[in-house]
């Protein structure tokens, strides 16, 4: 049990930190609910993985890749906002998942499962998280600038379409690995809540990104420790811990004024 908790803590903190960092850009990209939509998009893949006994993140990534490609294509064709297009695609995916998801596997698919994580999975996930962190760090400034003004970013040399595509792919990968610990239902919270917490506590971009990452990691650690004590699914506990941190941040923000 101790080894399970330890492995879960490592993988949870890595995913939480990178999700928090990634989510800190969602405010500027108007994609706050995108993580949730993408989470739902993973469900057919998770269902297949549970049915045929292969890695849930792999199944999730398979369907996310297809889904993101469809969203990107529709965005180019229709000029509708990605969030609206994601809503269309994720509803279809969610409905499809429930067509063949076995009832006994529903809880795992929706809420995640950290009880069977191997050291190899932890190592691969941590490496993926480090890679995601590096990629987003390299395009963070142009992404913030394009959130202020796409024209300003472009006249200063930013390739907006390329950066947006990279960001969307990184979000999709984060969701795919996040599904393992919080399930397909709550990935939005994993991405969005730490950023909201950080916004309450920071007065600059650097502080904001650091706090967002730390808040994501702490929420995962607290949720996993609570799972160790109570045996309740870690997914909901992680999100509750994240909400508690957010509420505490409101108190500290009000106190700081």
């Amino acid at each position: 049990m101790l080894e399970t908790i330890l492995l879960a803590l490592i993988i949870g903190c890595a995913i939480g930190a990178v999700a928090g960092y990634m989510g800190s850009l969602m405010l500027t990209k108007r994609m706050a609910l995108m993580g949730g939509a993408l989470g739902h998009l993973t469900l057919p893949g998770v269902a297949l993985a549970l049915l045929y006994d292969f890695d849930v993140s792999l199944g999730a990534l398979l369907f996310l890749t297809g889904g993101v490609a469809i969203i990107w294509l529709l965005e180019q064709k229709t000029r509708l906002h990605p969030e609206a297009l994601t809503a269309v695609v994720f509803s279809g995916a969610l409905a499809t998942a429930f067509l063949f998801l076995p009832e006994e596997k529903t809880e795992i698919a929706l809420l995640g499962d950290i009880s069977q994580i191997s050291p190899a999975t932890v190592l691969i996930t941590v490496l993926i998280c480090m890679g995601l962190f590096g990629v987003i760090k390299s395009i963070y400034a142009p992404l913030v600038l394009s959130g202020i003004s796409a024209d300003l970013a472009q006249t200063n040399g930013a390739n907006i379409k390329r950066n947006d595509a990279i960001y969307l792919i990184c979000i999709a990968i984060t969701v795919a690995i996040g599904v393992r610990i919080v399930g397909g239902l709550m990935t939005a919270a994993l991405l969005a809540i730490p950023a909201c917490t950080a916004k309450n506590l920071s007065n600059g971009l650097e502080q904001y990104t650091v706090i967002s990452s730390i808040a994501g990691a702490i929420a995962c650690a607290l949720g996993i420790l609570a799972f160790g004590v109570t045996g309740i699914s870690a997914g909901p506990l992680i999100i509750i811990a994240s909400v508690v941190l957010f509420l505490a941040s409101i108190f500290f923000r009000d106190k700081g004024r």
Binding site: S24, L25, L27, T28, R30, A141, V144, L145, G147, I148, S149, D151, L152, Q154, T155, N156, A195, K199, S202, N203, G204, L205, E206, Q207, Y208, T209
Partner: protein, 232 residues
């Protein structure tokens, strides 16, 4: 016009959105150190023209720049100041350069206190914000500065400050300015050239020569009142 003296040449420009032509058959040239004011009614294609010149929109025809760096100050309504991450002005300037001395010198040049670097991006007044944006766009010493309605939402005093500031930089540096405004007094006061635009060129030349009452009526319709400006 001597070719070496040209900073921009536009030939037979055509821009269309979703099949609707916004600019058609527009040709003009801009000389180095010109202050070109682009005038025209709403929907005339002024912002579209600037965005095409900056290669932000697909277009047909030829746009040739004989300039190195081009600075741009977008219209206020295209700049998002809310619902963005917490961003100190020092961090916003760091997107362009890490040279703190240069940033502080530029802020002083536009009349802003260097202490404002610690302020949030969304905390400045509209006038301060526009001065900050001018400082930001001039930070890498552009050859050309393009501004789209830089004084919209600013009171008369603030408006005068912005234009005096631009004129100061124009005099000090080898700067060419392209500017969209609705304000006719800016044309009389500061422009060396004026381009009247209403989907196509209506007039182009020195303001004293081309801005006649008839021309303004043709550009804006019969509602326009004309007050002759005389230089002291």
């Amino acid at each position: 016009m001597n070719d070496n003296n040209k900073v921009l040449e536009v030939n037979d420009l055509r821009v269309a959105y979703n099949g609707t032509t916004v600019i058609e058959g527009l040709s003009f040239a801009v000389k180095r150190r010109d202050i070109l004011v682009i005038l025209g009614p709403n929907g005339a294609g002024k912002t579209t023209l600037l965005r095409s010149l900056l290669n932000l929109l697909p277009y047909q025809g030829d746009i040739t720049w004989h300039a190195g760096k081009i600075g741009y100050v977008p219209p206020q309504e295209l700049l998002r100041r809310q619902d963005i991450p917490p961003l100190k002005l020092s961090e916003f300037f760091a997107f362009k350069t890490s040279d703190r001395e240069k940033i502080e010198a530029m802020l002083c040049a536009v009349g802003l206190d260097v202490r404002c670097l610690q302020r949030q991006f969304n905390e400045l007044s509209t006038g301060q914000f526009q001065r900050m944006m001018i400082a930001w766009s001039l930070l890498d010493n552009p050859d050309v500065l393009i501004l789209d309605e830089p004084t919209s939402g600013i009171d008369i005093g603030g408006e005068e400050t912005i234009y005096s500031l631009l004129q100061k930089f124009w005099q000090k540096q080898n700067l060419t300015i392209l500017l969209v405004t609705h304000d006719l007094h800016v044309v009389w006061e500061y422009a060396t050239q004026v381009l009247c635009l209403n989907r196509q060129e209506m007039c182009m030349g020195e303001p004293d020569e081309v801005l006649t009452p008839e021309q303004l009526k043709r550009l804006y319709g019969s509602g326009i009142k004309f007050y002759q400006h005389r230089h002291g």
